[in-house]
Amino acid sequence: MHPTDTSKPDHFHKVVDCQWACPAHTPVPEYIRLIAAGRYADAYMVNWHSNVFPGILGRTCDRPCEPACRRVRVETNNGNEAESVAICRLKRVAADHKGDIQARLPQRAAANGRRVACVGAGPASLTVARDLAHLGYQVSVFDRDPKAGGFMRTQVPRFRLPEEVIDEEIGYILGLGIQFHGGTPISSLRRLLSDGFDAIFVGSGAPRGRDLDLPGRREAAARIHIGIDWLASVSFGHVTSIGKRVIVLGGGNTAMDCCRSARRLGGTAVKVIVRSGYDEMKASPWEKEDAQHEGIPILNYLVPVEFEHEKGRLMAVRFRKVRPELDDRGARRLVPSGEPDQRIECDEAIIAVGQENSFPWIERDLGLAFDDGGLPVLDTATLQSSLPNVFFGGDAAFGPKNIIWAVAHGHEAAISMDRWMRGEDVRLRPPPRVHMTSQKMGIHEWSYDNDISPEPRRKVPWAAAELALKSIRVEVELGFDGSNAWKEAQRCLNCDVQTVFKRELCIECDACTDICPMDCITFTTNGDEADLRRQLRAPALNVRQDLYVSDSLRTGRVMVKDEDVCLHCGLCAERCPTGAWDMQKFLLELSRAAPDRESVEAGREIR
C-alpha cells in the first residue's frame, strides 16, 4: 500500500467515528471532554456552532453517531454488553447546565445590502438564516405556522421536547436580526422571486402525511386521523383528548410519537400495528423501547384491509395476517399466511405510514426542474436548484430525513448562497479548518485523560410513569446530573486524539506493538491492502476502518496500524523511546459561510 496521506483531513477525520458519522460533523469528543471538565457553556458553544440546536438535538436527535461510536466495537467480546457512549444525552447535559450564554453569541453584523428569503421556519431554514445573518445578509423567514421551528415545534411531542427549549434556541437565532413572518404561507414562488430577493432558500419540509385508501376510510373519517396532522393539532392544542382504544398504523418514529401522545390524551388501550416484523420497523430501537415501556404493545405482520364502521362510527380495523418469505433473490417480502383475518376493535385510528413532499406553491413553468418523484433536481453538494438563485435543504431537498440532516443542509446551502451572491463559483467549497495539537506534557503525562473507563453505559433517569402519562407536557427523560454526566463522559475514548507516526524516528524496537492492548500496530512487509489486512497481529476485518500505513522503515518493513479498535490510550506513545508516536488532537471544524474565507482556492473540490 502507499503511505497514508495524513495531510488531507479524511484519514484522521474517519478515525473520529462519531464526528465522521454526524451529518454536521460535530466535534463530539471535544465537547465531551469539556463536559467532563464541567465547562458546560463551552461544550454548548462547540455544539451550537456545529449543530445549531444542542438542547433540541440533545433530546431528539436521530444520533447516527451512536451506532458508529468506536466504544461499541471496542466493548465487543469484552464482557459487558457492547454499547456506545451516550453522545446525544451528553449534548443535552451541556444545554441543561450551561447557564447564560447570551454574551457568547455572535454579534449582529452591519447590513451588506443583500436580501435572502427562507420558505419555512424549520431547522434547515433557521440554520441558513443563522449562518447568513451574522455575515450581514438581511434574512426574512416565512412560515404558515404562527411560530418558528417547523416540525420540531409541531410534530415532536412536548413530552420529548419541552416548548421552552425550542423557544430558547430559536430565540438565539431570531435574535441575530432575522425577520420572522409567522402565519404567512407562501403560495407562489413566482411572486416571491419578483420581490427582489437576491437568493431564496426552500426549507418547506415534507408536509403531507400518506393516507390509506381502504374500505371504510371515508365513511369513518371522523375517527381516523393522519398522524402528522393529528400531532400538529395536538401541538397547537386543537386536539386535547382521544378515545380509550386507539390503533396506530405504521412502524416509524411518527407512529411512536402518535401512540405515546394518544396514551397521554386518554388512550388507555393503545396499540401499534405494523405490516413488517419488529426488527424491520423504521422506528429507532430506543423509540420502540420507550413506547413498549409505556405499556403500548407492538403487533407485527398485520396488514390493514378495512376500517369497519357502523353508520360512520369506527368500530374496528380488520387485518390480513402475513409472514415474511425470501424470494429467489433473497429479498424479504410479505405473503399472506392463510390464517383468517384478525379484527381489532377500536374507538379511533391514526395512520402514520409515511410522509411525502409537495410543492403546490412552486409553479412548474419557472424553470425549476423536478424529478419524477416530485423532488427538485439539485446539485447534491451545493443544494442549488436549476434556478440558480433558489436553493433547497432539509426534508424539502431529498425527502424526509431528520433534524441534524436539515442542519447540515442548512450549513452547505448557506455557503452556496453566500458564494452565489458574491459572484463566486458555488462548486468550489471552502476547506474545513484542521488543527493538530500534541497532547504531550511529560514522559507519560498527557493533556487529555487517557485512562480507559471500564464502566457500562449510564441510563438516563425517567420521570415516574404515573406522572409522565398524566400530561403530554411532562418531559419523560430527566437528563443526566453532573456526576452521571462525568462518568458517562469518561467512557469516551477521545478518538480525536490521534496516534501520529513519524517514520524517521522509529527504531523498530516493537515496544508499541507489545504494549498495545488492542493489537493495533504491526511491523510487516508491505503488500496490497487485502494482503496487509490478513497479515496483521489481529486481522483487520472491518474494511470500513482504514489502515494507517507508513513509508518503508530501515529494515524495509512498514508500520501498519489498524485504526478500527484503537483505544487512544496513548500507551504506544508512552512506550516509544524515540517519540515516533505522538498523540495529537485533531480538531476539524467544517467551514461555514463565514467572513474569513481565506484559502478557498485550496478548497475541497467537489468529487
Binding site: 466495537r73 471496542v74 466493548e75 465487543t76 467480546n77 469484552n78 514522559i443 507519560h444 503525562e445 487517557n450 485512562d451 480507559i452 471500564p454 527504531i507 523498530e508 524496537c509 516493537d510 515496544a511 506493538t513 507489545d514 504494549i515 492492548p517 488492542m518 493489537d519 489481529a538 486481522p539 476485518l541 530501515r554 529494515t555 479498535v565 483505544l567 490510550c569 500507551l571 508512552e574 512506550r575 516509544c576 523511546p577 524515540t578
Partner: protein
C-alpha cells in the same frame, strides 16, 4: 513506566488457546523499564511462547537474579510462581526448586551482568549439572540497572555512551554454554520476535539445560553508534543460521520450505522442531563444529543467531540422581520417614 494500568480491553477477535486463555492472560504488570528496552520485547516473546504452547501460567516457576533483566518476570505470566533471588544466584535457587518439585516448568531469567559477572560460577554449574530449565540471558552488554557500566559480555572496542572504548576481553555465553555441555544452545535478538518466539518454545519443550542468549539493546545506555549491542548494529551484523518452527506433529505444515532444506527433530514431549537451514554449512548437532563456526564468524564481527546446538536425547539432573518423581511437598510422612529398619539397611549398605 506508565501511570495508567494497561486496559483490560482486548481485540474483539483475540484468539484463545486450548486452555481457553487469551495471550493477555499471560501478561504481568506493566513494565517499569525504559521505553523501547529490548528486555520488554523478550517478555512479549515469552508471553507469546507460553500462550502458543497451551501451558497454564501457574504451572511455571520463573526465577531471576538482580538487574533490569531480572526484574522482567514481574511483567509476564502474572499467575506463575516466582522468585527474585540475589544477584547472580538464580541458578542455584532454580536448581534447588527443580530438585524439590520437577512437575513445574522452570524459566530462569537473567542478565549479562547477573550471569557473566557475579553469577558466572552459578551459570556454569547449573549447566554442567543438566538442570531441566530454560535459561534466558537478556544480554545488553552493560549493567543497565546501575546506569550502564560495561559488562563482561561487552566487545572490546565497543564504545560507551560517554565515548570510552571497552578494553577488556569479552565473555561469550553461547561459547561457554557449548563448552559446559548445555544440551540446547541458541542465540536470539530482541528485535526479531519471528525468530525468538520459536526458540523460546523449543527451549521450553527441551528436556535439559536450554540456554538462550538474547541480544537485547539497552535503549538508555547502549543503543548509540559505536555500540555492538544496538538495534542497528545487530541488524547489520546478524548472521542467522536457521529458522525454527515448533510443531505439534510431524505432519503439520506451517511454512513451506523447499525439500532438503528442513530437518525435523523429535522432542521428548512429542512435539517436533522443524529447522529451516539458512546456512547450508551449519549443523546444529555438532557441538565442536558449532564452536568453530561461532568463533570464525565472531572474528569477522558477525553475530551468529538461531538454534546453534541441540541434543534432543539429553537427560537431566534427576536422571543421574535417581530422585523421586513426586514433588517433595506431596510425599507423605511414611514415605519421608520409612522407619528404623530402612535406615539400618541404608547405613549397612554404606559400611
Amino acid at each position: 513506566m506508565t501511570w495508567i494500568a494497561k486496559p483490560r480491553l482486548h481485540h474483539p477477535t483475540l484468539a484463545r488457546n486450548s486452555l481457553g486463555y487469551t495471550r493477555r492472560d499471560y501478561e504481568g504488570k506493566v513494565s517499569t523499564l525504559c521505553a523501547g528496552c529490548g528486555h520488554d520485547s523478550i517478555s512479549a516473546a515469552i508471553v507469546q511462547a507460553f500462550w502458543l504452547m497451551d501451558i497454564a501460567p501457574h504451572r511455571v516457576a520463573k526465577l531471576s537474579g538482580i538487574g533490569c533483566s531480572s526484574k522482567t518476570p514481574d511483567y509476564f505470566l502474572g499467575p506463575a510462581h516466582g522468585f527474585n533471588t540475589v544477584h547472580g544466584r538464580m541458578p542455584s535457587v532454580l536448581t534447588g526448586a527443580n530438585l524439590a518439585n520437577r512437575s513445574l516448568i522452570y524459566l530462569g531469567v537473567s542478565g549479562d551482568g547477573d550471569s557473566a559477572s557475579i553469577g558466572l560460577g552459578q551459570f556454569a554449574h547449573a549447566i554442567r549439572r543438566g538442570v531441566d530449565m530454560t535459561y534466558i540471558v537478556e544480554n545488553n552488554g552493560v549493567y543497565g540497572l546501575t546506569k550502564g557500566q560495561f559488562s563482561a559480555t561487552a566487545d572490546p572496542g565497543s564504545v560507551s555512551k560517554k565515548g570510552v572504548a571497552n578494553t577488556d576481553g569479552p565473555l561469550d555465553l553461547v561459547g561457554l554454554a557449548l563448552l559446559l555441555g548445555a544440551s540446547f544452545v541458541a542465540r536470539g535478538f530482541a528485535g526479531d520476535k519471528a525468530q525468538l518466539v520459536p526458540l523460546v518454545q523449543a527451549a521450553i519443550s527441551h528436556k535439559g539445560s536450554a540456554i538462550i542468549d538474547v541480544i537485547s539493546p539497552c535503549i538508555a545506555f547502549n543503543n548509540h553508534a559505536g555500540s555492538t549491542k544496538s538495534y542497528d548494529y545487530v541488524r547489520e551484523h546478524n548472521e542467522a543460521v536457521n529458522q525454527l518452527d515448533l510443531v505439534p506433529s510431524r505432519n503439520e505444515i506451517t511454512v513451506d520450505y523447499a525439500a532438503g532444506e528442513t530437518v525435523e527433530l523429535a522432542q521428548h514431549d512429542g512435539t517436533f522442531l522443524r529447522l529451516h537451514k539458512l546456512r547450508e554449512d551449519y549443523d546444529p548437532h555438532d557441538r565442536i563444529g558449532a564452536m568453530n563456526y561461532l568463533h570464525e564468524h565472531q572474528a569477522r564481527g558477525e553475530v551468529v543467531t538461531g538454534l546453534l546446538y541441540v541434543d534432543p536425547a539429553a537427560q537431566d539432573l534427576h536422571a543421574g540422581l535417581e530422585t523421586v518423581e513426586t514433588p517433595l511437598n506431596l510425599l507423605s510422612e511414611a514415605e519421608l520417614c520409612p522407619g528404623a529398619a530402612v535406615l539400618e539397611h541404608i547405613n549397612s549398605s554404606l559400611r
